[in-house]
Structures are given as C-alpha cells and as structure tokens.
Amino acid sequence: MLSSLLKNSRFTFSAVLLLIVVLVGVIGPMIRTANPLFAVGGRYDRPDSKLWLGTDAIGNDVFLQLIHGIGNSLYIGLVAGVIATLIGVIIGLSAGYFGGLLDEILMGMTNVFITIPTIVILVLLSVTLNSRSTVLLGVIIGVTSWPWTARAVRAQAASLRSREHVDVARLSGISTPRILLGEILPYMASYVVMAFVLQMSSGILNEAGLSLLGLGPDNSISLGKLLQGALQGEALRTGAYWAILPPTLILALISFSLLMVQSSLDEYFNPRLRRNT
C-alpha cells in the first residue's frame, strides 16, 4: 500500500514537507530547552548569528518561540483531532449501526450542532474558561468539531450494516462490539484516517484563530500566539518581518501539506477521482 502511495508525487511531496515540520516541532524543543517566554534582547532586534530570527516586540527569541510553537500547535491539533474523531466515530457508528430511535436522537443532536457555527461555540467556551492550557484548548476544539465526522461515519455504517459479511457475522452469534470493531470499522478505516487528518488540520487553524482573537493558551507559546503577538506589536508596520512571516508561512505549510496528504489519500482510496494530473 505504502509503495503505491509513494508513487503519487503529490503525496510524497506533502508528506515529506509535513515530516520536516513535525521533526522541527518535536526535536527542536528537546535541543533548545531554554524558556521561549524569556526576554533575551530588545524590541525587534534584527536576526543575527545568535538569534536566528531576531526578537519580538517584548524581546523574546523568535526562533526559539517558533520551534516550541510548532510543537504546541501540532499537539493542540493532535488532541483536537483525536477527540473529534473519537466522538464522531462513536456517535456515527452507534447511530448508523443500531438505527431506530437511537439514530433519530443522535442524528438530531448532530444536526443541531452542525448548524451552530463552530467559531461561536469556541469563542463562548474560551471566554467562559478563565485559564486555558494547551491540552484544554485542544479538548475545547475537539469537542466542537465532531459533528461532520459523526454524520459521515453514520452514512457509512448504515450502508455497511446490511452487507453480507455483517449478516453472516450476526447470524453466527458474534457479539455486537466485536461486529462493530471487526466487521464494520475496518471497512471505513481509510475514511476515518482521512477525517482525522482534516480534523487535525482544522484544529491547528482553529487554535490560530482563537489565539488571534486573544483566546489562546495561557503561559505557553503557539503559532497562533506568535502571530497575535506580532500583529499586536505592529511587527509588519515597523518592518519586523522576521517576527511575523515565519509563523505565517509555517501555518500555511502545515495546512497545505495536511490537506494535500488528505486529498492524495482520497484519490488513492477512491479510484473514481483519479485523473492523470
């Protein structure tokens, strides 16, 4: 499977880009362990051999913040993605497989949540909480973004449950949890992986959006908080491009490569979408 995926140049290119960013975000903070929220210079010192990306508006090392910020943003995206996918799969699977009243109730709930814009719930939840850690932020984003996954998983589960192999399993007396895990879930695994990739991407962007609104994680750095600090500190208008362009570009890079990975996976799993591009 992997070897044929790697032949897709779009997949390889974006996966390598992503891998580099992830490595920087994971290994970087292990090598440069200094506190990124500690002033080491003046306001907007230019980049030099010691401070690779200069300092920000309050004299913190931008490069150090960037590598810690990448790690934290990815972490928030991961937490949000795992939670959203988990809730989505559980709700979608139960609604689709069991059907009936349970389906009605769960899908009613899902449809109500889908129509309320995510940003509204995010803002309200974040305003309510006085302190927000990176984990908590990931959880908040995760619990607000499951409905799309739930709806899609439900559609798949509803069509899978009437397949022959599921009927056979049911007739041979296999317990329901084992049917769900062994006969239904594997057939939508590719779909769930793609949904997870999208959830992670939107989780990272949601964090950035919340941070730009002033609702980012406390006492820690993220790509969104870097952007917010730079925008509030008038980094662009004072010409301190080194403080604002790196997080902007890294966010674009992460979002771009995650979506590319998702769309090439989609093409891989749905041959109908393939066309010689």
Partner: protein, 337 residues
C-alpha cells in the same frame, strides 16, 4: 403540497431547536462559572483595570435589572430570550451605556461591504475557472487546479498577512490598516470613496482569492464527474461548440455550488473575523476582538448570537430551496434526518 408542508414544518422545528441550543449556550455558559456570574464578570473587569468602579456599580445595577438576577435561572433565560426576540442585545460593559445594538450596527456594514462582493465575485470566477479547467484538461487544468488547491488550502489569515506584507510594507503601494485614513471621517464624498477603496483592496483580495480557489476546486471535480455522463459525449459527437458544452456542464454541476454560495453568504457575519483583525478593518471581527480584550460580555454574546442567526438563516433557505427544486432530495431528507 402536503408532504412539502410537512417537510417545511419539520425543518422549522429543527432550526428552532438549533437556535434554542445556541441561545442556551450563549446564556448558560458564562453562568457555569461558580459563584454569582455577574460578580465574576464585573470583578474580572475591575481587576483588568478597563473600567472605573463607579461605572462598575452602574453596570452591575443595569445587569441585575436587565436579567432579573434575583429570579431563578430559568426565568432569567426566559427574559433573555424575550429580549432577543425583540432584537435587543443588551448594554455594553466597556462602552457603558452604549447599547450592543448600536455597536453592532456601526460594525456590520463594513463586514458586509467587505465580504459580500468578495463571496459573489469569487464564486463566479472560481466556478467558471473550474468548469473550463475540467473541460480543457492538460496544462491549463493542471495550472488552475494546483493554483486553486494552493489558495484554498492556505489559511485565510496567512494569505492576508502575506498580502499585507507584500503590498503595504515590502512594496508600499497600499495602506496597511483601517477602513479609511484616520484624518478622514466617513462621508459621501469622492475623496472619502477613493480613500476607502484603497483600504478595501488588500482585505478584499485576501478573501476573494481564497473563495476563487475553493470554488474552482469544487467545480472542477463536479464538472469532471459530469464530463463522463452521456449527454456530454452526445453533444461532443454532434460537434456542438465548446462554449455551449461548457455552459451545459456548468448548469448541471451548479446545484451543489449554489448551496455553497448560500452557506458562504450565511457565514458572512462571522466569516472573516481574523481578516478584519489583521487589517484592523472596522467590522464585526475587530469589534469582537476588542470586546474579548475588554471582557465586554454582552457585546461578545451579541456578536455570537448574530453569527448563529445568519448561519441558521442561510441553512434554512438552502433546505427550503432544495425542497422546492428537487422532490427526490426532499424525500431523502425526510428519511435521513
């Protein structure tokens, strides 16, 4: 007509439920904080140093009066809903005694003027581009597709910051912030119009490029799907003109794209919150940003409920028009819900 009436009624019921859920979130979430919620909010504002103690007391009194805080929570919720239905969003904390309505009214036209043209123009260009790319194929398709994919997958605030850096800092041909020059004041004069237009270009561009990208990608895949259908090969074999075939494909691939348009217009109020913040554009996003910084809870709540209403309204209209257009969808949606 009878099944349609039933369809309509169930839809209305669901949207009402969604609105109630949103209003409940709006109302109850801040009250989940232990202790008297207003105490919490007001003391939080006091320690932030944004409001003087005399006005804190006035705010406190107003808040008690507005919501009847001595009443049980459920009665307060009723009061809140009642005010909402009368279009009253309450009184601002930070700009006391300004009403939230007046604050929103000042910001909303800027947001709409920025986004409505961006959505409409971007939608049109994106769809035409996507349909042509799908039909032509080859290098043109590849260029359009990759470009559109690039723009649609870049976060919109990243593009905004890049444009801002490119055209207002590195090559300073356009103003970098605000809706108009601060020495001006809004008026219906030619000078102000030119000034506002200059401030408009960059935020508009940052939004329209993203919309074009997203629409082109969507339209292209819909159109490729259409290309495989019988009527296209029939028209091709009949030797009909290229333009005519593209127009045919366009019309048939349009339905989902129209939904996209309606939903985009629905997300208009809250759609470019961050763009406005990046450009310090005087719309809803900047207002929300300021309100969050000042713990101005009534303004935050007013804006969130407004965003919700816009999105619910657009979704409802889409559902409604689908019910009219396509009886099959109506039937399947009755089953699906």
């Amino acid at each position: 007509m009878k099944p349609f009436t039933r369809y309509l009624l169930t839809k209305i019921a669901w949207y009402l439920l969604a609105f109630l859920a949103a209003a409940a979130l709006n109302f109850f979430l801040p009250r989940l904080i232990p202790g008297n919620p207003v105490d919490q909010i007001v003391s939080g504002m006091g320690s932030g140093g944004t409001v003087s103690s005399a006005s804190l007391q006035r705010i406190y009194a107003t808040y008690i009066k507005e919501f009847g805080l001595d009443q049980p929570l459920i009665v307060q919720f009723g009061t809140y809903l009642n005010r909402l239905f009368h279009g009253d969003l309450g009184t601002s904390f930070a700009n006391y005694p300004a009403s939230v309505n007046s604050i929103v009214r000042a910001a909303l036209p800027w947001s709409i003027a920025l986004q409505l043209p961006a959505i409409l123009i971007g939608w049109l260009i994106g769809n035409v581009l996507g349909a042509i790319a799908a039909y032509r194929g080859g290098v043109f398709d590849r260029t359009v597709f990759l470009g559109a994919l690039g723009f649609s997958s870049i976060p919109y605030f990243s593009l905004a910051i890049l444009l801002l850096y490119g055209f207002a800092v590195a090559w300073p041909i356009l103003p970098s912030s605000g809706g108009y020059n601060f020495i001006n004041s809004p008026s219906f004069t030619f000078g102000f119009f030119v000034d506002a237009l200059q401030h408009y270009i960059l935020p508009f561009l940052s939004l329209v490029l993203i919309v074009i990208g997203g629409q082109a990608v969507g339209m292209r895949s819909m159109a490729i799907y259409e290309l495989g259908s019988d009527y296209v090969s029939y028209e091709n074999s009949m030797g009909l003109g290229e333009n005519r075939i593209i127009r045919g494909i366009f019309r048939n691939a349009m339905l989902p794209q129209i939904t996209g348009l309606a939903l985009a217009i629905g997300s208009l109020v809250g759609g470019a919150l961050i763009t406005e913040i990046v450009f310090s554009y005087p719309g809803i996003g900047t207002t929300l940003f300021t309100a969050i910084g000042q713990n101005d809870y009534p303004v935050i709540q007013g804006i969130t409920i407004l965003i919700t209403l816009a999105v619910l309204g657009a979704n409802f209209l889409v559902d409604l028009s689908y019910g009219f257009i396509d009886p099959r969808i109506r039937a399947s949606q009755q089953g699906e819900r």
